[in-house]
Each structure stands twice: as C-alpha cells, then as structure tokens.
Symmetry: C2
Subunit: 325 residues, 2 copies
Amino acid sequence: MKKRTALPLLLAGLLVAGGSQAADPYAKFKELFKPLPAIAPIPADNPQTEAKVELGKMLYFDARLSGDGTIACATCHNPALGFTDRIPRAIGHGAARGPRNSPTTLNAAFLTSQFWDGRAPTLEAQALGPLQANIEHNITLDKAIAVLKGFPEYQKRFAEVFGGKDPVTPDNLAKAIAAFERTLITPNSPFDRYLAGDESAISTQQKKGMKSFVEKGCVGCHNGPNFTDGNFYAIKVPGSTDEGRYTVTKKESDKHAFRTQTLRNVALTYPYFNNGSVWKLDEAVKIMGKEMLKTDLSKDEVDDLVAFLHGLTGEMPKFTIPALP
Amino acid sequence: MKKRTALPLLLAGLLVAGGSQAADPYAKFKELFKPLPAIAPIPADNPQTEAKVELGKMLYFDARLSGDGTIACATCHNPALGFTDRIPRAIGHGAARGPRNSPTTLNAAFLTSQFWDGRAPTLEAQALGPLQANIEHNITLDKAIAVLKGFPEYQKRFAEVFGGKDPVTPDNLAKAIAAFERTLITPNSPFDRYLAGDESAISTQQKKGMKSFVEKGCVGCHNGPNFTDGNFYAIKVPGSTDEGRYTVTKKESDKHAFRTQTLRNVALTYPYFNNGSVWKLDEAVKIMGKEMLKTDLSKDEVDDLVAFLHGLTGEMPKFTIPALP
Ligand code: HEC
Ligand code: HEC
Ligand code: HEC
Ligand code: HEC
Ligand SMILES: [Ca+2]
Ligand SMILES: [Ca+2]
C-alpha cells in the first residue's frame, strides 16, 4: 500500500510542458497545486450532524477522560497553539514525555493515514489510541465509558446523536470525536486565495518560493490539497532513533520512514519533525533539502520557501469553548 | 482587618422587620440579596482597555509560561470546566498534586482578597504567585519574561498596551492577566433575573431555598453580590489538616480558617471545599449546616438550598480562544 517511492514523474513531465506562458511566469507552477476544500471527506458510516460535532467537541475538551482528570485531547492538540502543544515531544499522564512530537489535528481529516508512522487508517480508529496510551490520557476504555455514563448530560447527548439501547460505547465516542475533528479545517489561506485567482494574495517572494518548491522537488512528496502524498520516506532528522513505519510493517525498507507531513499551517506547528528537534522553519527547510533532495539550498531559496510556507496558514476554525457537565 | 466574626447582626434585625409583606412571602428575604454587577470594580492604576484584555487572555492561555511548557492558567482554571479543573487538589508541574482545590477565576474580580487564605490582596498581586509556585507553573519570573520577549508579537502588544522603554515586565504581565480576569463575570443568573423583577426566573422550590438560606443563617457569611463577606472562619472540612489563614497571620484564632467561598456558579465548581473533599453539592450544604450553624438540615431543606444554589449559575463569558504566536 504505502511505500517508499521514487520522486513522482508528474514533476518532470510538467516542467517540460507549459513553455508558452510568458505572460505569467508562475502560471505553470501554480497549476500543480490544489486549494484546500472547505469541507473534509465524510465516511459513509459516520455522517456529520451538528449534535454529533458538538458532542465530539465536548469530548475533545474533556480532561476527565484521563487517568488523573487533567489531560484532554485539547491539552496536546491545543487550539491556542495551532492545535499542537509547541513542545518537542508530548508530555502526558504523570508528566511523562513521549517519544514523538504532537502533530496538529488541523486538517488531519484529509490524511490518508494517522500518526507519524501511519498505524491508524482513520480518525475513528485513531481516537481511541491516545485515551489508552499510558503516556497520554492513561485511562482504560471501560473507565472512560464509565466516566461518561456518570454524567446524565452525556447519556442524553449520546442517545440523541446515536440512538440505540446503550449508546455510550467506545465506537460512538470515537465517531463523535472524529466528527468534531472533521470541522478543524483551515481554508482560505493566502495561497488558496492566490490559487482562486487573487494575484495579490501572496507576495512576489512567496511566488518565487512556490517556484522553488516545484523546481527543487518538494512538491514530489508534499502535494495534493493537504501538501502530503500520504507516503512514507526514510529520514534521519537530528537526534532521531525512531524506527518509524518499520514498527508497523517490520519491512526493512520502512526503517526510520515517516509519513510526509502536511505543510498546511506549518508556520504554527513548530517545533518540527517527528521528534520536534528543530524549532525554526528555515532550518527545517534546509534539512529537507539536504536529506530528501541531496541539495544545499541557498539562503535566498530557503527564505523564499519559508515565505511561501507562511502563505499556507489558513482561517482557524471558530467555535466557543464547550461548557462541560 | 479580616477576622473571625460572629454572625452579622443584620440578619436578626431584618427578620424582625418586614412583617407586613403578606402579598409576597418571599419579598423580605429577597431584599437581603444583591445582583451581580455586569462590570467588576476596576482599580485606578490598571484601567481596562480592549488591547490589554486581549493580551491578558493570551497570557492566561499560554502554556509556554511554565517550566515544561505545558501548564497555563487555563489548565487549572479551565473555561470548559467552570474555570476550575474539577479535581480535588490541583495537579501542576511534574504532575505534582498541590494541597488545595483550584477555585474558579469566575468573579474573582469581586473578591476582597485572593486565595483560600486571602494571602494576596488583589488580582494583580495574585497573578505572579502561580507562575513561580513549583507545583503550578514552576517558572521563574526572569524566565517567564525571557519567554515573552522571545516573541516579537508579545513585545509589540506589551508596547502598545503599556508603552515605556521596556514594557515586558512582571508588573505589566500581572496587570494584563488581571484585566482579562476582570472580564470573567457571570451576570444574569436565574436568581439575578428574579432579583430584577422576573418572578418566574426561579421556581418555588428555589424561593423556599432562598428563605432557608436566610433563616438558617447562611446569608450571615455568604452575602453581598458575590455571596461572600470576605471574612475568614475556622472550619474542619472532611480530611483537612490545612492551617489556612493561620499560615498568613500566625494568629491562633485563624487556625484552619478559610475565606467564605463565593457561591456564584457553585453548581459548576465541584468538588467542594479547600481540599476538594466533597463531590456533591447536597453533601457540602449539609456539612455547612453542621459545621457553621450547628444545625442538622432536613432532607427537604437541603434539597431546597441546592435548588436555590443552582439558580446562581450565570451567563458564561464569551470569547474566542486566542491564537498564540
Ligand atoms: C499527551 C499528548 C497527547 C494527547 C493527550 C493526545 N494526543 Fe494526539 N497525538 C499526540 C502525539 C505525540 C501524536 C503522534 C503519535 C505518533 O505518531 O506515534 C498524536 C497523533 C494524533 C493524530 C494523528 C495526526 C497525524 O498527523 O498523523 C490525531 C488525529 C490525534 N493525535 C488526535 C488526538 C485525539 C482525538 C486525542 C484525544 C482523544 C488526542 N490526540 C490526545 C499527542 C497527544
Ligand atoms: C522524499 C519526500 C520528501 C521531499 C522531497 C520533501 N519532503 Fe518535507 N517531509 C517529508 C517527510 C517524510 C517529512 C516528515 C519527516 C519527519 O518528521 O520525520 C517531512 C517534513 C517536512 C517539514 C516539517 C513539517 C513538520 O510539521 O514537522 C517541512 C517544513 C518540510 N518537510 C518541507 C519540505 C520542503 C521545503 C521540501 C523541499 C525543499 C521538502 N519538504 C521535501 C518528505 C519530503
Ligand atoms: C496547577 C494549578 C494552577 C495553575 C496553573 C494556576 N492556578 Fe490559580 N489557583 C490554583 C489553586 C490550587 C488555588 C488556591 C491556592 C490557595 O488558596 O493556596 C488558586 C487560586 C487562584 C486565584 C484566587 C481565587 C480565589 O477564589 O481566591 C486566582 C485569581 C487564580 N488562582 C488565578 C490564576 C492565574 C491568573 C493563573 C496563571 C498565571 C493561575 N491561577 C494558575 C491552581 C492553579
Ligand atoms: C460562619 C460562616 C459560614 C456560614 C454560616 C456558612 N458558610 Fe458556607 N462557607 C464558609 C466558608 C469559610 C467556606 C469555605 C470552607 C472551606 O472550603 O474550607 C464555605 C463554603 C461553602 C460551600 C462550598 C463552596 C465551594 O466552592 O467549595 C458551600 C456550598 C457553602 N459554603 C454553602 C453554605 C450554605 C448552604 C450555608 C448555610 C446552610 C453556609 N454555607 C453557611 C462560611 C460559611
Ligand atoms: Ca510540530
Ligand atoms: Ca471547587
């Protein structure tokens, strides 16, 4: 399914074509990109409803779903911090530090697999992982369900959303959280407005950065509306010993391989890489050039790329903090 | 200044007067209460401005103001949880559990002293305490100021709000947070609407509860718009060994004395008492009767009092989660 691939051929093809666009030197590069849809794909077995999203939002913020009552999804995927925690590696239950950086939940709804190593196929499958992880929420599913059942308001809301005789189940808990996460979409970034025809939405430096992003080969992996091809590539970021995708597949070729990260809102999701070892975006870009493309990017190229990446910060989802029972 | 007092005389006086109100049996009790103002008192040396409140909100939510980058004011005074953490005793830096329950920051702007033992006179004086406490944020003020200075956006906002050559100071940090806290006011509770003339805003049971609240003597300590006289009273709540006010004054009469708690939003601020030892409001009320008034309240009296207290939940402050730099 997912595997280490050579740089896609689309790139080479497109750079050869499109020679006659003298009027706009950036048009042929622009064509390679897709705007972020305002709505995430919705699976058939978990349709969005307003009540389900509201319930999911409550669960996302509810710290009682943890061993000591202090850790919620929003602790590590904090709306104030770009839906991350902005520390190198997550700190969870008992102040234990985990091995990996907390990725943003923004636009996770567009990913074709979840976690740095892609071990969960969907948001629904993902959601129950952190609850049980002992360095994250550190609670058993039985305990989590018992906590929820202790609140008549949760009982009522699960019944309204899911119906059935015993609606407070792990499955429905995961569905509600996933439904909320599908609202965490950030459309209308300056770059999306540029793609939609507003030439002045990004600066000339940003357009140059877009050109470098294509010509240097970044777009070979960071492509599609969410700037990730969903594939896994071996990389040794500074300080990392993490075996990555290998821990899931046990294939030698997956050793130290990680899923291409989204670059949407990347200006907000520092520090960078699977172990959060790099604080500055320019440094992360330089490392990408070196590690993934065997290129030493010049200072100007890095600056242009960073400017371009800043144009990928979209409109944050707007919601009020839920009042929990 | 603050001291252990006998039950105020106002109570006895008022119950004797007002005998001719046959039309409304609750009128004379109602007269004893004051609605919560929609605006908190503002000190002359820290005027409210929109930009200051916005800056204070950012600081309130900013977990980088802590030793390991995970603990903000909003962690323990969490807007989703009635601006508390809803655990018995606060858990802070390094997952250490402190000795006391986190009180709500809602309406703290109306208090005449801060902390269970009243050791801080104002919100400004209070704010720097938790930052430095090693079981809370666990950061030095020097470090906190250095963190803030690391963000050009904070530099800019402090300069805009406070002016001067070096505006990022502990003093201004405290002022901004206090200004934000002064917006955490919850007016228009059902009981306030009743006081304003809407007879149907609370039920007959709640009116009976109000009557008991006066007749039994609760109002002797829980009075004024914020339902606290600001005085300190010795009490041994279950499991407590805390010496309370004594740790501040070293007066024998202040041993185990705590400031009368606000009862505004008390339905949201469980668990109760200085050590969070009691989860249920009916139990807390029963204990109050026994400990403070040497009375065994009947089941009906307790139920009415609890119904009354539920009427003190006001409108929550509305704000969007800040986007931190
Ligand atoms: C203690 C910190 C912490 C908590 C609490 C936490 N997460 Fe995470 N989250 C992480 C880390 C770290 C990863 C990456 C783990 C990995 O790749 O092995 C992650 C990965 C994810 C991903 C995958 C995103 C991607 O880009 O692959 C999603 C979605 C997610 N979390 C949602 C949630 C939800 C929903 C909850 C609550 C039920 C939650 N998280 C609780 C730290 C946390
Ligand atoms: C061969 C695939 C590939 C190419 C080419 C590539 N990347 Fe990446 N990129 C990845 C993978 C995989 C990661 C995740 C690495 C990790 O954290 O372990 C990543 C991570 C990043 C990050 C960090 C994101 C974060 O949130 O941590 C940035 C920034 C980035 N890439 C930018 C670029 C730029 C700019 C280029 C071109 C100069 C580029 N990438 C080329 C695959 C690629
Ligand atoms: C780790 C948990 C924790 C953190 C973080 C925390 N607090 Fe508190 N807060 C408490 C506890 C516990 C008390 C009561 C302490 C006492 O009485 O000795 C308290 C007391 C207060 C009070 C007094 C309220 C009253 O009723 O007397 C205010 C106001 C307050 N905190 C605001 C803040 C602000 C502002 C911040 C951030 C700068 C903050 N707190 C950070 C737990 C916390
Ligand atoms: C002599 C003063 C006094 C009287 C009378 C009194 N209280 Fe209290 N009340 C206090 C003090 C002091 C506290 C804080 C105790 C602690 O936590 O250590 C408190 C706490 C409470 C709490 C818990 C609040 C919280 O958030 O933890 C409730 C509920 C309460 N009182 C209700 C009542 C009711 C109802 C009555 C009458 C039946 C009453 N009180 C009578 C002084 C008094
Ligand atoms: Ca990151
Ligand atoms: Ca409490």
